[in-house]
């Protein structure tokens, strides 16, 4: 997989499991997979594939 622009190996499991195992705040992120938006309610339904490209995004300070 590619996660946030970097190679991230493979992961067997759901998106929610990936986020929790890597210490992301699942209540504060939105995920883009191959250009498709995945919201929090769908995290546990999405099974990750080896060629997935994910952007894991959150809010930060900005004007």
């Amino acid at each position: 997989m590619i996660v946030n622009g970097k190679p991230a190996g493979e992961f067997a499991g759901t998106l929610l499991e990936y986020l929790l195992q890597h210490g992301y705040r699942e209540d504060c992120v939105v995920v883009e997979r191959g250009g498709e938006i995945i919201v929090r309610e769908q995290f546990s339904d999405v099974v990750l594939q080896r060629n997935d490209e994910l952007n894991i995004l959150h809010f930060m300070g900005g004007g």
Partner: protein, 255 residues
């Protein structure tokens, strides 16, 4: 006196929009509270792995989140960021900012009109950040913008209302709230914008680069309130020539 500011279907008592960049997270909370801000802008970026605090933890729950599209270089990227930001569940507001120029950070007005059109159709309350231009502001109104955000001076410059004449034209001619954004460096600049009839002022760098940001946030709050009150009070006329005594000129030594 009730002076409610309506924007994007919501009512606000404060006319101070705070930008949250360049602050430590605890300071975000302090400046929001001291400034009495009810709207705060945020950026959307990639998150890092590993447990961490999130800026949302430091924003009081009654404050409205306005995601910005910073980083977008064209309408397509701005729309993408806006949709992702809305998916985070913080409401329908979006501040559209589109820039290609990295030296002066001036906005791409034409792309901004295009993005506004798309996002307004999708139900966003769109706050487009633009160079103040009457034709552009009219196009934004037609595109369904909720307000127009003209820049006062280049982003982060703290130079004040360099575009004052053109912002005044927008206030007079455009039937939308005019929110001055960018370049406001001092409370006096914010006060001046409000005296002109702007509906609100946004600032970030002016507060973030102050010696004491929390106290500066409070100073901005007071200045914005003063300017708004002065606008509502309708400032007195300016004499073109000469003077007009404030004290009676007769009644004592002239007798």
């Amino acid at each position: 006196m009730d002076d409610i500011f309506e924007l994007g279907g919501k009512a606000f008592a404060s006319r101070f929009i705070l930008g949250s960049g360049k602050f430590s997270l605890p300071l975000v909370q302090a400046v929001t509270e001291q400034g009495g801000a009810q709207m705060i802008t945020l950026a959307l970026r990639r998150a890092n792995a590993g447990g961490q605090e999130n800026i949302l933890d430091f924003i009081p729950p009654d404050v409205t989140i306005i995601p910005n599209t910073s980083g977008a270089r064209d309408a397509e990227e701005a729309v993408r960021i806006a949709r992702l930001a809305r998916a985070l569940g913080c409401g329908d507001f979006v501040k559209v900012e589109i820039m290609r120029d990295t030296r002066y950070l001036l906005p791409e007005n034409a792309e901004t009109i295009h993005a506004t059109e798309i996002l307004a159709t999708e139900g966003f309350a769109v706050l487009p950040y633009v160079y103040p231009d009457l034709a552009v502001a009219r196009a934004l109104k037609a595109a369904g913008a909720a307000a127009v955000m003209p820049l006062g001076a280049p982003i982060g410059s703290n130079k004040g209302l360099l575009t004052r004449e053109f912002i005044e034209i927008l206030v007079r001619e455009i039937d939308l709230p005019i929110l001055v954004d960018a370049g406001i460096g001092r409370p006096s600049h914010a006060c001046e914008a409000m005296e002109l009839g702007c509906a609100a002022v946004m600032c970030n760098t002016a507060v973030a680069t102050a010696g004491d940001p929390a106290v500066m946030a409070r100073a901005f709050k007071l200045a914005i309130e003063a300017g708004r009150a002065a606008y509502l009070a309708r400032p007195g006329r300016v004499l073109e020539h000469g003077a007009e005594a404030s004290s009676p000129l007769t009644g004592f030594l002239d007798e």
